[in-house]
Symmetry: C2
Subunit: 435 residues, 2 copies
Amino acid sequence: MKKPYAELTREELLGLQKHLKTEYRRMQAMDLKLDMSRGKPCTEQLDLSMGMLDVLNSETELRSEDGTDCRNYGVLTGIPEALDLMADMMEVQPDHIILYGNSSLNVMYDTISRSYTHGVMGNTPWCKLDKVKFLCVVPGYDRHFAITEYFGIENVPVPMLPTGPDMDIVEKLVSEDPAIKGIWCVPKYSNPTGNSYSDETVRRFARLKPAAPDFRIYWDNAYTIHHLYDIDHDHLIEILLECKRAGNPDLVYKFASTSKISFPGSGIAALAASLNNLEDIKRQLKIQTIGHDKVNQLRHVRFFGDIHGMTEHMKKQADILRPKFEAVEGILEEELGGLGIGTWTCPKGGYFISFDSLDGCAKKIVSRCAKAGVVMTSAGATWPGGKDPHDSNIRIAPSFPPLADLKTAAKLFALCVKYVSVEKLLAGMEEGAEA
Amino acid sequence: MKKPYAELTREELLGLQKHLKTEYRRMQAMDLKLDMSRGKPCTEQLDLSMGMLDVLNSETELRSEDGTDCRNYGVLTGIPEALDLMADMMEVQPDHIILYGNSSLNVMYDTISRSYTHGVMGNTPWCKLDKVKFLCVVPGYDRHFAITEYFGIENVPVPMLPTGPDMDIVEKLVSEDPAIKGIWCVPKYSNPTGNSYSDETVRRFARLKPAAPDFRIYWDNAYTIHHLYDIDHDHLIEILLECKRAGNPDLVYKFASTSKISFPGSGIAALAASLNNLEDIKRQLKIQTIGHDKVNQLRHVRFFGDIHGMTEHMKKQADILRPKFEAVEGILEEELGGLGIGTWTCPKGGYFISFDSLDGCAKKIVSRCAKAGVVMTSAGATWPGGKDPHDSNIRIAPSFPPLADLKTAAKLFALCVKYVSVEKLLAGMEEGAEA
């Protein structure tokens, strides 16, 4: 039945609705309890890193290569070998990095907070300004938007295109409005769309001419090595060097972490930036802490060895994730292909599939799923303030459930999409008849 | 030669000066490289915690007692068994605690930062106020003072007495000036004096009637179980409960960490407060992070077991530290006792001995030590802005150097005290003669 729903008659839709209702009731009776809401690694992925708990033991030398006893206080920016490893991962020089605690979200929060309380490289602290705005690529990452919202910053949506953010809009807004102090980006395998910024997009980012001297690109490269395929990768131009080439070396903060490489919550987060930016940041950091967890830094280096070790590790992660993505994409194609009631992305990496329903259906679809035991990310979460003006975008996170459960959940999701779409089309007909 | 220096004639002082100069030259020639500047555990202390690296390995079950997979995302405030352990350590209920990352200094910074950006329990954010002040018990901890100074807060010194801060002054200032938003305290084995607040002092703290509704006591109980003797402990009344009894449950934030229990920099920090305060804090914390390092929380629980295990562990720490404190105190008594050129504390716990020289001598003593290869904490560091109005207080940190080195360093220190004191007394005589 591959006829687009929009071409069905009222009678056909009513028949379909009856059938879908029965089918939904049947699935509801299965008493499912599945979670596709967050980008959490599954148990098998976590098991890949268990060796991390063996590389250090009571017999281990815990000195870093520069002689630092990693067990004691000190070392603000990270031990050399961990800087090297993270530098390779982030495609920058080790002296352009600061290693932090376990959460890059925390680093981003602290970056906004520092800009708010002390300003960026000598500019007025944002708390002293009447108005501060941030650009938010939509659909995007709810936790990014929540940080700026929490600081009373106005989140301004910018549409995501297949090539990345709409750069015509970004360039215009950033060059005209000095209240715009930054933009939230997930440039590679973006959250939730899964696409990566094109070369042209990155080059245009590096060439921005912001009205605000303290404008910074918040480049959250969370999925930098999180490929699903061995050769068929998205490639992203390295932004720090591109900014340097463009004569804008201080334009960007780049964030990353090992959260979805080793153990989420027990990894290493990092920030990369120009030396000027790092000096600015260190003036604050040395007040905030004596240093981060060096034993954990050493643990990561001893486990991965080097970037090749990390790459091999990520291939194993991909082997677990790839079948899950392909299963969901297969079911969406099989169930919804040609029906004209939804589009979705088929990313080559990252943690998400982005689904767009007919306008006004997303909340109802997510609600229907929940009532049958499958938790999706809240509809609207991918927009600032949780408000999707089209009520159409839904983020699908296939990583956590076991494959068999995931297939059931994807089938339920597709069923709910059909069910809610039929309702919408029928309601549209009634309105048409009344008008 | 136990005659007070003040009673010596000019000729006696000149003879002494000549002798001390020779002695100083001799020690200078030893080419020492010793550090008594910071409260860092020594290698033997760190070795006590090496078993911590064995309790988790690739065969270990990494679920917390409530079933949480500690390897994955989630759990904002800490896993139950770690909350229990830290609750016992901090002498509060587990539901009154939030576990953080590796640094209580970071928690204190974030607490000030949050108050600055968002205010305390609905009160005006400090960044919107013209003037904010903080009380600083002096001598005190330089890193505390640095945080408030960094936020442009005026640090107001309050003198430390043998019973704790001068509560007459604290009560008067806090009740009269609504700009005073907090006070930095290290209530037990204080940094640097080593004394603990008396019962009366704690009770008066709990009964404060601040002019500012958002005034909070910053109770940095860094040395809560850091005793030097097995039975002969200082006892501190638990402040949260005392505040509750006094009808001021929200008056205090209590901080602690395992930094000087397990590995500094790889431990667990925690904040304890009333449920109202915790709710206020969690509204921010959930924006800042998904959660802290639960694997490390589990590691600590598996290693220590419970508070008894932690207590036994601290006895071993004490066995290493006690001889060092006693050695320094012995040398100070032997070299300086009865000379009237310095006083010092003999604490029963903590990490520091506080020394007070004749006025105007501290900087010169520290400088003389440095020129002979022994690094002390900068003179003045124990005062806000690094400015000791008497230039007399010096913080001695005996923990880090091996015992033999420490004795040499203490002897050099005593020698420098004598040398600089003689200079001062001679200079005073010249001035007297000129007048």
